[in-house]
Amino acid sequence: MDDLNEKAARNRKIKHAIFIVILIILFICFIFPFVLVVINVFKTKADITSDPLALVGKHGFTLDNFPEAMRKMDFWKSFMNSAIITITSTIITIALSSMAAYVLVRNKWKACGALFGMMIASMVIPFQVLMIPIVSLYGGILGILSHRTTLIFMHVGFSSSMATFMFHGAINTNVPIALEEAGTIDGCSRWQIYWKIVFPLLKPTIATVAIIDAMAFWNDYLLPSLVLAKKELYTIPIATQAFYGTYSTDIGLVMAALLLAMLPILILYLFLQRYIVEGVTSGAVK
C-alpha cells in the first residue's frame, strides 16, 4: 500500500513538473513582446535596427529615448487628459447607473420596464453603428465635439446600460427590502435610504464596475479619436497613434512611447492585481 501511495505521489510530482515547464514556456511566449520593448527602449536607433534581439546594443545603455518621446508625444498632458476623463467618467457612471438601477428594481412602473428593456437590447449595438450619427449630431448639428465634457458624457451614456444591468442584479439579490422598510419607518426619505442604506451595500459591484469601466475608458481609442480632434485634448491611445504616425521610423522613440503608454496601467496592476482579476471575472460571468 505504501508503495502504491509513493508511486502516486511521484506521478503527481512528475505531472506537476511537466505542467510547470509548459506554463513557463507559454508565459515566456506571452510576455516576449513586452520584454522585447523593454530591451530595446534602452538602445539607440542604430542598435535596434542592426540587432533588435541583443540585450545591450553596441553603443551601450541609453536613457535618451525617454525624455524625447515624452516631449514629442506630450506625455504628461495626454496622461492628465486620460486620467481626468477616466476618473470622472467612472465616478459619474457608478453614481448615475446605480441610482437608475435602484429605481428600476424597486418599482414596476411602465417607464422602468421600457428603460431597462431598451438598455438590455442596446447591448448588441456595436459602436460602429453609432459613430457616424454621433459625429453628425454632435459635430455637425450641435458643434460640441472637442470638449472633454462631451467625451465624458458619451462615456457615461455608452457604459450606462451595462453598469445599470450589473447594479440591477446586485440590488435584486444583495439588498434586503426589510432594511429599506426599517429606514422608512425611521423617517428616511427615498433619497436618504438610497445613499445611506442601499449604496454602501453595493460595494463589491461598485468595485467591479469601476475596474471594468475604468479600463475600457482608459484604453478606448475610436470614440475619443472621433470626439477629441484637438492636440491638447489627446488621451494616451490617441497620442500614441499620432506619435507613431509621425515618428514611426525613429524606432527608439517609438519603443519609449509604447512603454510609456503601457506603464501607468501596468503599475496599477502591480498593486491592484487581485481586485482587477476578480473584478473582470465577476463582471464577465454576470
Binding site: L23, F30, M123, Y194, Y269
Partner: protein, 292 residues
C-alpha cells in the same frame, strides 16, 4: 404621502434615473434612430443639407464588392481566431487550476495583454513581426527575410496571432471560474469510480462548464467581429487593402471617402449580424442553463 400619483412617480423616476436616461438616450437611442435616417440620405459630412436618396445607399452597399470582401475576410478571421482563443484559453485554465505552484502568478501574467489598449498592442507586435522576427529569420536563412506583415496571407495570420494572444488570458479567467464551479465531490466520486484525469475533464468538467463555453464563445465572436484598434495599428489594412476588416471598411467609407450614407448602411448590416449573434447567445445561454 400619496405614492400612486403620476407626478410622484415622475419625480421619483427623474430623481434617480433621469440623468442616466438622458445620457443613454442621447448617445445610444437617438443616434441609432438618426443613423437609420442617415442611411436614406447622401451626406458628405460637410454640407448642412442631407439630400434624401431613398434606398440608394443600400443599393451601393450591395454593389460595394470591397465591403463584402472585408465582411468575408472578417468572418474567416473571426472563426479561426475564436476557435484558437478558446482552445488556448481552455488549456491555460486547465493548467492554472491543476494545483501547481505559483498558479496565481501565471493567471495574473497571462491576463496582462488585456490591460493594454489595442493601439499599443498592435504597434508592439508590429515591431515584433517587422524587426525581431525578421532578424531571427535572416539569421536562420542567413539571407534577408521579409516580414509576415508584408504578405497578404501573412498579415491576416498576424492578426489572428495577436488576437489569440490578446484575448486568451481574459477567456482563461472565465474558464478558471468554470473549473472552480465544478464541485470537488463530483470529481472525487468520478476518481473513486476509476476515471482518469482526462476522462473526468471530458465527461464531467466540460459538460458542467457549458455556460462558460457559451459566454467565452460569444464574447470572442463579438470582439473579433468588430475588431478595429489592432487592425488599425498592426496592419492598417496593408498590404494592398488585403487586411481591411469590416469595421475598418465602414470607418474608411464614412470618414475617409466621406460617403456617410453608404457607410452607415454598411454599419447597419454589421448591426444585424451582431443582433443575430446576440439573440443566439440569449437563446443558447438559456438552453445551456437548463441542461447544466
Amino acid at each position: 404621502m400619496n405614492t400612486n400619483t403620476m407626478s410622484y412617480k415622475f419625480r421619483q423616476f427623474m430623481m434617480f434615473a433621469g440623468l442616466t436616461t438622458i445620457a443613454f438616450a442621447s448617445v445610444v437611442i437617438i443616434p441609432f434612430i438618426y443613423g437609420l435616417y442617415l442611411t436614406l440620405t447622401s451626406w458628405d459630412g460637410v454640407s448642412r443639407d442631407k439630400p434624401f436618396v431613398g434606398l440608394a445607399n443600400y443599393a451601393s452597399t450591395f454593389a460595394d464588392s470591397a465591403y463584402w470582401q472585408a465582411l468575408g475576410r472578417t468572418l474567416i478571421y473571426s472563426v479561426i481566431a475564436v476557435v484558437l482563443v478558446n482552445v488556448v484559453a481552455f488549456i491555460l485554465a486547465f493548467l492554472v487550476t491543476s494545483g501547481v505552484k505559483g498558479q496565481n502568478f501565471f493567471r495574473a501574467g497571462f491576463f496582462i495583454p488585456n490591460l493594454i489598449g489595442g493601439i499599443v498592442l498592435g504597434y508592439i507586435w508590429k515591431f515584433v513581426f517587422n524587426r525581431a522576427l525578421v532578424a531571427v529569420g535572416s539569421a536562420i536563412t542567413s539571407g534577408t527575410a521579409t516580414s509576415l506583415l508584408a504578405t497578404t496571407n501573412g498579415a491576416m495570420f498576424c492578426m489572428i496571432i495577436v488576437s489569440v494572444w490578446q484575448y486568451a488570458g481574459y477567456m482563461m479567467l472565465i474558464y478558471v471560474a468554470g473549473f472552480m464551479s465544478v464541485s470537488a465531490d463530483v470529481l472525487e466520486a468520478a476518481r473513486i469510480d476509476g476515471c482518469t484525469n482526462m476522462q473526468s475533464i471530458i465527461h464531467i468538467s466540460i459538460p458542467l462548464m457549458v455556460s462558460s463555453f457559451v459566454q467565452c464563445l460569444f464574447l470572442t465572436v463579438t470582439r473579433c467581429f468588430m475588431v478595429y484598434d489592432v487592425n488599425l495599428s498592426l496592419t492598417n489594412g496593408e498590404p494592398f487593402n488585403s487586411s481591411v476588416m469590416a469595421a475598418m471598411h465602414v470607418y474608411n467609407q464614412a470618414f475617409t471617402y466621406k460617403n456617410y450614407g453608404t457607410g452607415q448602411a454598411e454599419a447597419m448590416i454589421l448591426f444585424i449580424v451582431c443582433a443575430v449573434v446576440g439573440v443566439l447567445q440569449v437563446y443558447i445561454g438559456k438552453k445551456a442553463e437548463v441542461s447544466a
